[in-house]
Amino acid sequence: MTTAAIVSPPGPLSPGRRAIKRLTRRRAAMAALGVIAGFALLALLAPAIAPYDPLATSWSAVRKAPNAAHWFGTDEIGRDVLSRVIWGTRASLLAGVVSVSISLAFGMPIGLLAGYAGGWLDALISRITDAMLACPFLILAIALAAFLGPSLTNAMIAIGVSATPVFIRLTRAQVLQVKVEDYIEAARAVGNSPLRIMWRHILPNIVPPLIVQTTLAIAAAIIAEAALSFLGLGQQPPAPSWGSMLNTAKNYIDSAPWMAVWPGMSIFLLVLSFNLLGDGLRDAFDPRQR
């Protein structure tokens, strides 16, 4: 007996593992994941990492350019920009994750129901989804935030609700594709309840596009939270948030440009990372799309 005959070949990888393997080969996506992890650490360890109290003002250090004591400079009332950027990471990441969780929590079950049930229920849900999609995302979020009142929590609710129709539509489209497969027919034939079929047989098969959409939606939600805070409808001063920092910074652009550079750069870097990760996941789950 030869050695080759003794060593059994490794079993075939599951689609999920194959996707993860493909993802790890994509350097841009892995670098993006590293950046996101870095920001998450900053958010978690903000109290330990930030060199100053983000709310502490200093009238002797008003609008100081970046220097050894204040690496990113100071703002219009002498607060340390680096410390505020680090603490601002919390608001941005929280807004991204919580808003998208709201969208996913409502959008996925509603989309599942619409796609699986079909008929009048699907028609009703689809028309409501169309109506929500007809209102531009940020304008709807602004309107909701305006009526709910300005705060980070309400901004997250507004963004989450505004992004929900995208998840409903995506889930519904995926369910329509999957529900005609033979294994769903078989599951139905052996007497599984519709709820069980949706939960155990359809949902696991539509997860990949939902993961991709979730990643891209977090990027959009981070920009939307920054936009709402920029307009004064998100995180309220003096609490630090990248959007509200930019709102103040635009008034001092000629005398203290560093006030605008760092928060903007942080939004860009974090959003870029989520977009790169989303692109990487899309390619990993469906290499033909590339």
Partner: protein
């Protein structure tokens, strides 16, 4: 054609109905008595009583909705509590400014996005393709309000070439108008150019692999003719249709861009209304935006139907 139009209109009617419910429903989010809040900070008892009567606040919710919807159908979007003028007049006054901004932004987006998409597809996996993809990713990831601030820093504060803010009507001074609008238009068009570039690239890649393109090449046609005459024509139609659907992004972006550059348009109207607690204006702006979006969607569908012979024949 008529059949197609009727079928599309039949789907639009319920959508508009739900849009109206959504926008009417916004008012119900206000805590407490809406009249107290809508009356503004003064809370004048006369105004509150007037609002109670005008908004039929003592009636049940469905009746209130019917009153509101019938008013909207007659063109009555309510009245601004702050400025004491009909909302429709305010919208009509601000709309041309935003439309000019949107038109210039779309022009920039189409020229940059389509050109970059073609170059990227034709030169697939070359430095041009990578550069175009990196720029598209940059466009999608840059918050436009930050880009606006950075451009003001460069072109207004540092170089002094362009005005940092303000608006001049093109009928008063076209040169000054363009000088004031070029930065906001670029900022607004930037992310749409990125989206169009990605769609154009994938549409071109699909078309360039088609049999008829291979045939055109086999006939010995110049590559320029193959790309621009044979491939581009077919790849462009869905991209232009998608461009029309980017209208929503355009309006969302306009809110922020107008805020950064202090342009007195539609976007600034809604933001000012939010801070003045002028809720009728907020509702009016959302309603007008949604109606415009649905109409544009319909026009895009019609355009696609008209230029696509296969779809036309299948519906005949």
């Amino acid at each position: 054609m008529v059949k197609f139009l009727v079928r599309r209109l039949a789907t639009i009617a319920p959508t508009l109905f739900f849009v109206s419910i959504l926008i009417f429903g916004l008012q119900q989010l206000l805590p407490g008595d809406p009249a107290m809040i809508l009356a503004g900070e003064e809370r004048d008892p006369t105004v509150i009583a007037h609002l109670h009567q005008k908004l039929h606040l003592d009636e049940p919710l469905p009746v209130r909705y019917l009153y509101w919807a019938s008013g909207v159908l007659k063109g009555d979007l309510g009245e601004s509590v702050r400025i004491q003028r009909p909302v429709l007049d305010l919208v009509a006054e601000k709309l041309p400014v935003t439309l000019e901004l949107a038109f210039l932004a779309m022009l920039i987006a189409l020229v940059v996005g389509i050109t970059a998409g073609i170059v990227s597809a034709v030169a697939r996996d070359t430095i041009w393709d990578y550069t175009a993809n990196v720029l598209a990713l940059w466009g999608l990831s840059t918050p436009n309000f930050w880009l606006g601030i950075m451009l003001i820093l460069l072109f207004s504060v540092t170089l002094g070439w362009l005005p940092a803010s303000g608006y001049v009507s093109p009928f008063v001074d076209l040169r000054a108008n363009l000088a004031a609008m070029i930065m906001p238009a670029f900022v607004l068009g930037n992310s749409i150019a990125a989206v169009l570039m990605r769609h154009m690239r994938s549409a071109m890649l699909q078309v360039l692999g088609a049999d008829y393109v291979r045939t055109a090449r086999a006939k010995g046609l110049e590559e320029r003719v193959v790309v621009l005459k044979h491939a581009l024509r077919n790849a462009l139609t869905p991209v232009i249709t998608l461009g029309a659907l980017e209208f929503g992004t355009l309006l969302s972006g306009a809110v922020l861009t107008e805020q950064v550059f202090t342009i007195p348009g539609f976007g600034k109207l809604i933001v000012d209304a939010v801070f003045n607690r002028d809720y009728a204006v907020v509702q009016g702006v959302v309603l007008c935006t949604a109606t415009a979006y649905i109409s544009l969607n319909l026009l895009a569908d019609l355009a696609y139907f008209l230029v696509n012979p296969r779809l036309r024949d299948s519906q005949a």
